[in-house]
Subunit: 257 residues, 2 copies
């Protein structure tokens, strides 16, 4: 076994490998070495070496055109993330029930620092178009799931979100701190969030919190429906019931779990 | 920006980080530093440094008990793997149709060297219990999806599979090379695979190939049903139709895709 590398050498090399992996996004899911170099800010020679190692392990794969994409092995390891596939596996039967009963868009999201990440999305067969993608990120301030997650986030997260420019999607998107704080207070009091025309002008989303065995909010589930004819309160009762069922189905957080 | 590390130093460090990540499995999805050290074969001091870096980036997360698990950020990056979530997104509507029509277990798998990896699994509401898990691996020789993938794998993959001991799940599991070669030939001729009592004594699985735009088999889809009363030929027609629909829905492989 090789001796442990000195601290100053371990750091940069692992960080560079992570920078290469982090250069891949949904819009840039396949890259040549020179594109990887440009997007990671690392020299081609370094990227060449790191990509060879990552590909040898299966974290990257190379196609017939010499372009690299994320490898199945990384997907396998990533699928062990409790907040990703673990949560999704527990929630999926209930999300499918919601989808089949309503035929609307069902979404499951978790907070990752000052954004949300969609862990599951089932597109409804007669549903309004939505902007989301599994594994994709989104602002916390606009969507129903985002408002639920932000309403139950630590204060310092909210302050950091409000300190930055708020993304505007429509003329109805909330962008000032006072309005957002009021919406978050409403969300906590009612137990669910409503986002009306905040992301697209024809959609309304209602979201409810999913809690772990300690009562902490760990995820949010939403229905995104056509706003014409939608009755948020009725949708909310459906969502709150499903969110409680999912909460109960989560594995309890024990030291050996 | 730091200068690129010499070749002999880049290698081991990235490899060690990947060894730490690769130590996580579905049975060992949360570990202390000393468990990570034992499972990766690396000294605790090395694991300590690497884990801190991986956690800083979000590839690992640490819970309230000091145990590490795979982080959401790695799940996000892993979700960009075309053979993982990309395939799954294209296939999901058709898998859901199969699930709703049959109420049986629907499985989607790809080959990774000499094993298969389950990319999606929808458990049927009145279905026979199955041994599979999304992101989990399985032998190619026992299941329907495995037989399809092996029937269309390069010869050298088949030879490597046959050169090793074949896992036996039941008294009916095929384990000798001649029987397996015959089953693979049948699979190619009929266009689908049947695995009868090969994994559990009460289940039968029927699987069909999913092809990319060049006609290469890139995945397999199966239904796993109670074997009593099942008519493999009728199930096969359903599967072949769904497999063709999924094949058509796959994004075509272009250099900039």
């Amino acid at each position: 076994m090789p001796a442990p590398a000195p601290l100053e050498r371990t750091g940069p090399v692992v960080a560079r490998a992570l920078r290469v992996l982090g250069a891949f996004t949904s819009d840039r899911c396949s890259m040549t070495l020179s594109e990887m170099s440009r997007c990671s800010g690392l020299p081609v020679s370094t990227v060449h070496r790191i990509a060879a190692e990552l590909a040898g392990w299966g974290a990257l794969e190379r196609d017939a055109h010499g372009r690299y994409h994320i490898g199945l092995r990384l997907w396998e390891i990533g699928s062990l993330a409790p907040r990703g596939l673990g949560l999704r596996e527990s929630a999926l039967p209930f999300l499918e029930d919601l989808s089949q009963v309503t035929r609307e868009n069902v979404q499951l999201a978790v907070r990752e620092d000052t954004e949300l990440v969609f862990v599951e999305r089932i597109a409804g067969s007669r549903a309004v178009p939505v902007l989301t993608r599994v594994g994709g990120r989104f602002a916390l301030t606009a969507t129903g799931v985002g408002l639920v997650l932000l309403a139950h986030a630590p204060d310092e997260v909210l302050e950091r979100v409000l300190a930055r420019p708020i993304t505007r999607f429509t003329e109805r998107t909330m962008t000032d701190a006072r309005t957002i704080r009021a919406a978050l207070a409403d969300t906590r009091i009612r137990g669910y969030a409503v986002s009306d025309q905040q992301v697209t002008m024809d959609a309304l989303s209602v979201a409810a919190p999913i809690r772990d065995s300690r009562g902490d909010v760990v995820a949010a589930v939403s229905l995104v429906v056509h706003r014409s004819g939608a009755t948020p309160h009725a949708v909310a009762q459906l969502l709150l019931t499903s969110a409680r069922a999912i909460s109960r189905a989560l594995p309890s957080a024990t030291p050996d779990q």
